[in-house]
């Protein structure tokens, strides 16, 4: 079969046969069909071939393609398992991020809280030591204790006041001496009430006491973080392989 039809003409004929050629181009093509026999012959051939294709026998299904519950159940079950693992992976990842950020945040807050009680316990020692140095040469005591300083001060106060107020001051001093634990705290001096047997805490003791509970909780948090990270990774990996297996 000789065919000298250009590709563009063939496309126009193909669209014309299917009624897909724009109306303005249809008129032009009809005119050319009347003038060019080769073009008309190509159109006839095209129509015959198209009808041959349309008349191809319709294939009937060789068997029943109805679905069984097993066909759907297998896929559904595996889809459910895959979805569960994927969800577990996502949740584990989110929890891990939450715990990690919470850990970072509470670590900073705990650090601030730790420094305050240490400062409070250290601060009172300084003024007490200063007073000890001041009073030591006057009272001539080898190791002045806090109660001794209080008694000394009470004694000095009573001596100074007796010149001005007489017996009332002496009585006052005696009362104070009877009860050496009277709190002489002023607004500026917030010293804790301490017995003679009370020992001052050193910095090392403060450091070792307070963080122990925090160390334990930090270890627990770290363990949780590791567990969550491992869980997220493991479930994500299982979900990945399940999906991959489903594709094959």
């Amino acid at each position: 079969m000789k065919n000298h039809i250009s590709r563009r003409d063939w496309q126009r004929l193909s669209a014309y046969v299917d009624g897909q050629l724009p109306k303005n181009q249809q008129a032009r093509l009809r005119q050319r069909l009347s003038e060019e026999p080769a073009l008309q012959l190509a159109l006839d051939d095209l129509r015959l071939m198209r009808s041959g294709l349309r008349e191809l026998p319709k294939m009937r299904a060789p068997r029943n393609f109805s679905l069984t519950p097993e066909m759907i159940g297998q896929r559904k079950r595996s889809a459910r398992i895959y979805t569960s693992f994927r969800l577990a992976s996502v949740l584990s990842s989110l929890l891990f991020i939450l715990v990690m950020f919470g850990d970072i945040f509470t670590l900073g807050y705990s650090g601030q809280q730790l420094s305050v009680p240490v400062a409070e316990s250290v601060a009172p020692a300084a003024p007490i030591e200063e007073k000890e140095l001041e009073e030591a040469p006057e009272s001539e005591m080898a190791e002045p204790s806090f109660s001794a300083v209080v008694e000394d001060e009470a004694g000095q106060i009573s001596v100074e006041k007796s010149a001005e107020q007489g017996l009332d001051v002496v009585e006052e001093a005696q009362e104070d001496q009877v009860d050496p634990n009277v709190n002489r705290q002023t607004a500026d001096d917030e010293l804790p009430i301490m017995d003679g047997d009370t020992e001052m805490m050193t910095q090392g003791e403060v450091d070792s006491e307070i963080p122990k509970g925090d160390i334990v909780s930090w270890r627990i948090i770290n363990t949780i973080e590791v567990v969550l990270a491992g869980l997220a990774f493991a479930t994500g990996l299982v979900a990945f392989f399940l999906r991959r297996r489903g594709r094959i």
Binding site: Q11, D18, G52, R54, M59, R60, P62, L67, M71
Partner: protein, 202 residues
């Protein structure tokens, strides 16, 4: 129950409702798969995969032509099958009788209303056309089968293969041109009117 009701029921997980739709459309889908892939066993696999996929993806069906929606799914299944066969080419097995002879007319093509001679002739022409279809590239073949074999219009075909209308027109024209060149080799199988026109032109 009408089709819309069956679809709604199937979307809720009613497998029986879906299987009624399968019975209505399995011939059309198998026909599409067979004409595109060119082999009955592979066409069966693609058809079954298409129906399983359709049941799973029923939630994505948003109305419109259910036929076109199913054809899109079987089109994708055919492409998957063709890609698989490209990676692992297999020698096509022709059906054989008990005596070991090739069956040139598969039983599902036999039309009891025509004479044996007509039946053979029609069968051989169909095989010639299928042979020429198999020579086309998958993209060209798909468009020819959708438009010329299934009788869809250009817009439906464009929707199914997810390509622009211009692409459908272009591919169809080129596919038809190549089909015509190929069919010229089987002149003796062509209908008499066709042959007379050819002789007049040569």
């Amino acid at each position: 129950m009408d089709e819309a009701t069956l679809i709604q029921a199937a979307r809720r997980g009613d497998l029986d409702a879906f299987n009624r739709l399968v019975l209505d459309y399995q011939d059309m889908l198998y026909n599409q798969a067979y004409r595109v892939i060119g082999e009955p066993d592979a066409a069966e696999d693609a058809t079954q995969e298409a129906f399983i996929s359709a049941f799973r993806k029923l939630r994505t069906y948003r109305g419109g032509s259910f036929k076109s929606w199913l054809l899109r799914i079987v089109t994708n299944a055919c492409y998957d099958e063709l890609r698989r066969r490209k990676r692992r080419p297999v020698a096509p097995l022709e059906p054989i009788t008990r005596d070991g002879d090739d069956v040139e007319s598969p039983y599902w093509l036999i039309d009891p209303s025509e004479s044996p001679e007509e039946s053979v002739q029609r069968s051989e022409l169909a095989q010639a056309i299928q042979h020429c279809l198999n020579q086309l590239s998958p993209d060209f073949r798909m468009v020819v089968v959708l438009v010329d074999v299934q009788g869809l219009d250009y817009s439906d075909a464009a929707q199914i293969i997810e390509k622009p209308l211009g692409t459908v027109k272009s591919r169809l024209a080129r596919a038809r041109q190549r089909m015509q060149v190929c069919l010229a080799k089987f002149r003796e199988l062509l209908p008499p009117t066709f042959r007379l026109k050819e002789e007049a032109s040569s």
